[in-house]
Subunit: 360 residues, 2 copies
C-alpha cells in the first residue's frame, strides 16, 4: 500500500487495558495478542485489574525503555467511547513519543490535551476506523498475485478469524501468504489496512484494490471480508469489496446457529450453498475463474455433540472442506487450494467477454 | 425526507450561467429549465454571453424583486472548479438573501467572502454533492408505496433522463408519481435528494431508504439510478441503492453505441437481457416480486436509419417495451406498468424465506 492511502503501525506494541474488566470489551487486545504475540511487548493495566491478556505488565516508562513504539487501545467498551480515566495514560504515552492507535469511533484528536502531547514528541494519533484520504476509484484491471476473500452468509460470522486462521495454516504449509485487513480490529492485528465500510461509496472497490495490490504470482493475499451480499444494509460494501478484490478463491463463512440476518429480523440467513453460488456469480465480473475453496463454520452455538455431524453433512452436501477453524484449523482448506491451484501459473488477463456476472 | 438527512431547495430559482459559453458545460442549467421550467424565474448571464437557456435574463436585484429564493449554479466546467469571475455575483446574491446552490466538488464555504455574505443575510450555502449528516443504516423493513428504479448496463447511459421522462409520462396518465434524485443534477432538478455515491459505504442502503420513504399505497417513486452492477468501480453503490430502494419495478437503461464500460476498457458492456436478469436476481433480496417493466435506450450514437430497427428487435427479443425516451417518450412503459400492476393493492410484506437473492 502507498503512503498516501494507508498507515502502517509501528511495533512493538504496548496494549492498553486500563480499568476494563469485561473480557468481551477487551476482544481487540486479546486478538492482537493471539495473532501477533511477537509484536506485543506488554499490557498496561490499572492497579488491581484482574483482566489479563497473558503478556507482561508494563508501565509507560518501562515500555519506552523497552523500545515500544505504539500504545494500542485493546479495549472497545459498548458505545465506543473513551473513558476520562484513560486520558492521563494516553497523554503520558504520547508525550513519551509512543503513537496512540485507536479503533474507536471517537477521534483521538478530541481527547483533551492529547494532540498537544503528541505534537510535542512527534507521536502520531492513528484512528484506524477512519478511511484514509486520497483513495482511487477502482479500475478493474487484472493484477498479478493470488487472492482469497472471506465472504459471509451474514455479518459477524467469523470472517476475520477465518482469514487469520487460514493465513496461519497457509504459512505453516510454506506458502507465501499475507492477511489483508478491511476492518478496525483486523487493521490493528495486521498493522495496516483500510476500514472498508467507512470509505465513501464511490471508492469501495478502489479501496479494495489498494488493500490487496499486485504481488508475486505465487503470493496469496488472504482478505478479511465485510458484511454480506445478503444483508440489506451492507450488501453494497460487500459487492464493492468482492469486485475490487478480484478473488481467485472465496471461503464462505457462516454461523451455524444464526437464523435471521444481524439487525434485520425480516430476513432469513441464506444457506451456505446459496451464499457460495451468489458470491461466485457476482465475483465473475472481475475474476472469471473464481472458485470456492472451503467453508468456515462457527459451530459454537450448536450442542457440542452435534457439531461434527453438522460439518460432515455440509462437507458431503457441498463437496468442499467444511471446518470450524477453532476446532479443526484450516488445513483441509489449504489442501483443497493446493489441489485446485497449480503451483505457480501466470494469470490470464480477464477479458471483457467474461465480465457479465451472474447473467451469463 | 426528514430535515436531518436532506435539504429542500427554495424556489423560484435564478440559474447562473455567467461567462460559460460551452453548452456541454451548462447541461445542469439546461436540465433544470427543461424539467422544472415553472420554478425558474430567469438566468444570470455575463454581458455579451450568447449561451441562452431560453428564460428571461435577470440581474440579482431584479431577481430579488421578483421573489427569487435561490441562485442555482447551472454550469459545471471540466474539473468542477469555481471561477474567480463568478465570486462577486455569488456574494451579491448571498448578501441579497438568496440561497446559493452548487453541484460542484469545491465546497461553497471555500469561496472567499461567501460565507460571511450568507451569514449576514441568513442565506444558505448548499452543496448538493455532499451527503447529509445523520443518515441511518438500512433496515430492509418492507414499506408502503410503489417504487420503480432505473438500472443501467453502465454508468452515464441516461438513467436520470429516463426517470424524469417516465415520471412525466406517469403524471400525464394521472398516476401519482415523484421523481427521486440520487445525484447532484437530479437533486437540483427535484429540489431535494441525496447524492448516493458520496455516502459512507455502510449507509448506502440507508440513504436509499431515506430517498424513497414509505408513501401512499398507489404512489410511485421513480428513482434515479447510479452506476451499474456491471461496473467494477461503482457496483457497490448500485447494489446498495437497489436493495435500499426495494423496487417493485426496474427499467433497464442502455446506450446502444457503448461497447466497453465507462473508464474500464477491459470490460464489455453487458447485454440488456443480462443486465435485467442480474438486477432482478439481486433485487429479490429486499423485493421478492420485483419485475422489469421496460427498457430505455439512448440510440443517439446509432445511424438515424437503424434506430427503429434496433428498438423493434430488442422489443421482440425481450418482450418488454423498449423505447428511446427522446424519440418515443415513455408512454409504452407506462402502458406495461398499468397492465402489470393492479390499480391499488396492499403490498405483501417481504418474508425472509424469499430473501436469498440470485441463488434461490
Amino acid at each position: 500500500m502507498t503512503a498516501t492511502t494507508s498507515v502502517r503501525l509501528r511495533n512493538p506494541y504496548l496494549v492498553f487495558v486500563g480499568d476494563t474488566t469485561n473480557p468481551v470489551d477487551a476482544k481487540t487486545g486479546a486478538g492482537i495478542v493471539q495473532w501477533r504475540r511477537e509484536l506485543v511487548a506488554g499490557q498496561l493495566r490499572f492497579a488491581g485489574n484482574q483482566l489479563d491478556l497473558g503478556v507482561p505488565d508494563m508501565s509507560i516508562s518501562e515500555a519506552r525503555e523497552a523500545g515500544v513504539q505504539s500504545l494500542l487501545l485493546g479495549v472497545a467498551p459498548v458505545g465506543g467511547g473513551i473513558s476520562d480515566a484513560w486520558v492521563d495514560s494516553f497523554c503520558e504515552a504520547a508525550s513519551a513519543g509512543l503513537d496512540i492507535v485507536s479503533g474507536l469511533h471517537r477521534p483521538l484528536e478530541s481527547v483533551p490535551g492529547l494532540a498537544a502531547a503528541a505534537q510535542g514528541s512527534g507521536a502520531r494519533l492513528i484512528n484506524v476506523r477512519m478511511a484514509p484520504a486520497g483513495l482511487p476509484v477502482g479500475n478493474g484491471a487484472p493484477r498479478s498475485g493470488r487472492r482469497v476473500l472471506m465472504v459471509g452468509t451474514d455479518c459477524a460470522v467469523g470472517k476475520k478469524y477465518s482469514a487469520l486462521a487460514l493465513t496461519r495454516a497457509m504459512r505453516e504449509r510454506g506458502l507465501s501468504a499475507s492477511f489483508r485487513a478491511t476492518g478496525q480490529t483486523g487493521i490493528m492485528i495486521a498493522g495496516e489496512g483500510i476500514p472498508i465500510d467507512t470509505v465513501v461509496a464511490d471508492f469501495i472497490a478502489g479501496a479494495a484494490e489498494v488493500v490487496s495490490p499486485a504481488n508475486a504470482a505465487a503470493h496469496w493475499d488472504v482478505i478479511e471480508g465485510q458484511g454480506s451480499l445478503f444483508h440489506p444494509a451492507y450488501s453494497g460494501v460487500s459487492l464493492g469489496l468482492l469486485h475490487g478484490s478480484q478473488p481467485d478463491a472465496i471461503v464462505a463463512c457462516h454461523d451455524a446457529s444464526r437464523q435471521t440476518v444481524h439487525g434485520c429480523p425480516h430476513y432469513s440467513v441464506p444457506s451456505v450453498a446459496d451464499c457460495i453460488e451468489h458470491n461466485l456469480c457476482c465475483a465473475r465480473l472481475t475474476s472469471p475463474e473464481v472458485a470456492c475453496v472451503g467453508v468456515s463454520i462457527n459451530t459454537s452455538g450448536l450442542p457440542a455433540g452435534s457439531r461434527r455431524d453438522y460439518l460432515d453433512r455440509l462437507t458431503a452436501e457441498l463437496g468442499l472442506p467444511c471446518v470450524d477453524p477453532i476446532i479443526d484449523g484450516c488445513e483441509r482448506i489449504v489442501d483443497f487450494m493446493a489441489a485446485h491451484f497449480d503451483a505457480v501459473t501466470d494469470k490470464k488477463p480477464a477479458t471483457g467477454d467474461e465480465g457479465a456476472g451472474c447473467a451469463t
